[in-house]
Symmetry: C2
Subunit: 396 residues, 2 copies
DNA sequence: CAACTTTCTCCACTCACAGGACAAAGAAGA
DNA sequence: TCTTCTTTGTCCTGTGAGTGGAGAAAGTTG
């Protein structure tokens, strides 16, 4: 099962691999247009890449007015594994070297069951994907966890919502099992990388990616790189105070953003509203299912339920207020809203936009798009694959 | 007056110049310890630098157990000009190539008098420094302005507190007048760079530098680089909402941080308190001077005046609350507090610390020093000199 | 004064890279 | 079909970057 994937020998080769990854199959001549190298040097480096099995020849390109150029592409047999561990579910996907998803599995699972149980699950899902013929082995795996990570070592640190994971050597353990390089990161950072690679943030250098799911977090991309902070907890905005003396939060404080708006908070507020008889729509759904989720609120709002709309609007205002502050501070070129609650759609977005455009200075908001992520649940696994491919496609 | 300062020919030379700048005179052998080059290559590059007049020989070093090494140092005749334009005063300083301040002038001046008047002032101060024999000409000048800057062009954009400066070609104009390269940045960013070069943030890669003066701003250093944002307005935290439905702010909103705590807000609150008879100390100072400033509040607090202490504490709480949010978001390794109100000293710091340590998560605050800047009014001009020296000491 | 260390200089060798000459392959028009 | 032009690939040479070793120069230590 162990595969010794070759690694680029120098920065030029790394650059070429990334061009092929992001642009797909390409002719040698086109590569020359995108890289600052003489034709002769380029030919040498491409030939060397062909000698490893990272890159393979791929026929002739169409003529551009003269002799046809030889196509090259990344080895179509390369496989990356993208893993996204959420608070309540696990996503595992297999991609090719161009980071296209070949297979994707999702499994509900509580992260609090601990690293051993979750690992078993992840490995069995990976085995399933392999058994279905999508991969013989993996050339690298990226994995996201819902908490802070000491990035260089790939180890979660003091993760509030995943007790038992503190200090667990995720990177090393998974690398052992899979026999390939592994990189670990916070799930929100991976979502940001995913949207940057293939989503709304394509090639944006400075942006924020707010993920609102069970909890709330924010991926920070500055100068094209993810900013992780000194202890890996950057972007942990769930416990910023949104409401002075507001609702009590699990962290011990009051008024945290997460306590006022998140998947969990929204469900709680919806149940309360239903029980208080404020909304027939929500009450009937509560009676039917015994519980409510963000999906129910979204459906009720879509059906015109005023209470549901109010809940969404108020939540959007809270998040929007915090984001307004972050926009003033960070001055991003784009804000992406993602995570489980994106089903709330335009109502949520409208409330956020209102707050941000009202509270932040015109210079910061003048040309600032605030949009929903476009990759949905695949953002995380694509980001994970991207993370490990950046690693594998860099000089050893 | 025009001087054609040589520029390093490659990255190695640039690296060597910066080592000499930051480490002072140094032997060739010691330079070899700090740079990853063979002895022969190092000798070649140092010799080339000696051929330009950027670097000069400087005798022999002490023996380290064998043959004594030749010392080299940056040309002691190199001169940088550091300019810090504040809302109410202008600082101009001359430094040598090691960024040591050789002369420093300060002049009260309202930035709203516009770029032409301020420029005249700056140039006359620079002329004065030159006339006193500190410099024959300048090899570069850095300048900070109290507002957002389009950094690559060196032009202020939509600066709220300095009308008339919008779009004024600061970089080009000053470069013309002085006949040397010029770089322009936000004053807060320069303060951060100053504290990073020679102050409390020496060699810290990720930190925040909060400057509380007439207004309030925050320098952001991420991965060793200043983060300026897409429109140059990053760190503009004065208009983050600190108090819902709070005091009206000049920007049109309510409850902005700056409206509740800043040099201006503190003076206003102190006058109010004095007029309401809450503090004899403040009232007598008001009667004596006809007005109050942060200095008066600091003095009153030092004398044990409870009202002054309350003002400081409450202001510190406001700022602290905002900083707590930024700490959660950015996860810095250090927070520096600077600007005019640092005279409030420990009382202010204590209030800020309390808020941050109480509201941010332990992982982010566990090892987070929150300290006062140690360079005071020289931070800005040192940062300005550092900015231009980074430019001059980079390959042309 | 001998033995050892550090530093500097010189030289030969390797490798990265550019750029030009030329051949191969195709397009477009006569 | 033939000629001319364009594009692409290959080969070769020249330049400069950079390494590493030999040995000389300059010190220290006992």
């Amino acid at each position: 099962m162990r595969r010794m994937t070759a690694r680029p020998a120098n920065a030029h080769q790394a650059r070429l691999l990334r061009l092929l990854r992001d642009g797909g199959p390409n002719s040698r001549a086109q590569l020359g247009d995108q890289i600052d190298l003489s034709r002769s040097k380029l030919a040498v480096e491409v030939d060397r890449l062909l000698e490893t099995d990272l890159v393979v020849a791929d026929g002739l390109a169409a003529s551009r007015g003269g002799r046809r150029s030889h196509n090259v592409r990344l080895n179509p047999g390369l496989r990356f594994l993208g893993v996204d561990i959420g608070a309540t579910s696990v996503d595992v996907a297999v991609t090719n070297a161009e980071l296209e998803i070949l297979g994707h599995l999702n499994q509900p699972m509580d992260v609090r069951e601990g690293p051993v149980a979750v690992f078993e699950q992840v490995l069995s899902m990976a085995a399933k994907l392999r058994a279905s013929g999508l991969a013989e082995g993996f050339d690298g795996a990226g994995i996201g966890v819902p908490g802070p990570v000491r990035f260089p070592e790939g180890v979660p640190v003091a993760p509030p919502i995943m007790p038992g994971w503190d200090g667990f050597p995720v990177r090393e353990a998974l690398s052992q099992e899979l026999g390939c390089p592994v990189m670990v990161d916070n799930d929100v950072n991976l979502m940001a990388m995913g949207e940057r690679h293939a989503g709304v943030a394509r090639s944006v250098g400075d942006f924020l990616c707010v993920k609102i799911g069970t909890g709330i977090g924010c991926g920070i991309v500055a100068g094209g790189d993810v900013h992780r902070g000194v202890t890996g907890s950057a972007g942990d905005i769930g416990h910023i105070q949104a409401v002075p003396d507001g609702r009590p939060c699990a962290c011990g404080n009051r008024g945290c953003l997460e306590a006022h708006f998140s998947g969990a908070a929204l469900a709680r507020d919806a149940v309360e509203a239903a029980q208080q008889g404020l909304s027939e729509e929500l009450a009937s759904r509560l009676a039917a299912n015994g519980t409510l989720t963000a999906v129910d609120v979204a459906a009720a709002a879509a059906a015109g339920d005023a209470t549901a709309l109010d809940l969404i609007r108020e939540g959007g205002n809270r998040v929007g207020q915090v984001i307004a502050g972050l926009v003033s501070f960070f001055n991003p070129g784009l804000v992406v809203i993602g995570g489980g609650v994106t089903g709330l759609g335009h109502n949520l977005l409208a409330a956020i936009r209102t707050q941000v455009y009202r509270q932040s200075l015109p210079l910061a908001t003048g040309n600032l798009p605030i949009v929903l992520g476009e990759l949905g649940p695949t953002a995380g696994v694509i980001g994970a694959a991207r993370l490990i491919s950046d690693h594998v496609f860099s000089p050893a």
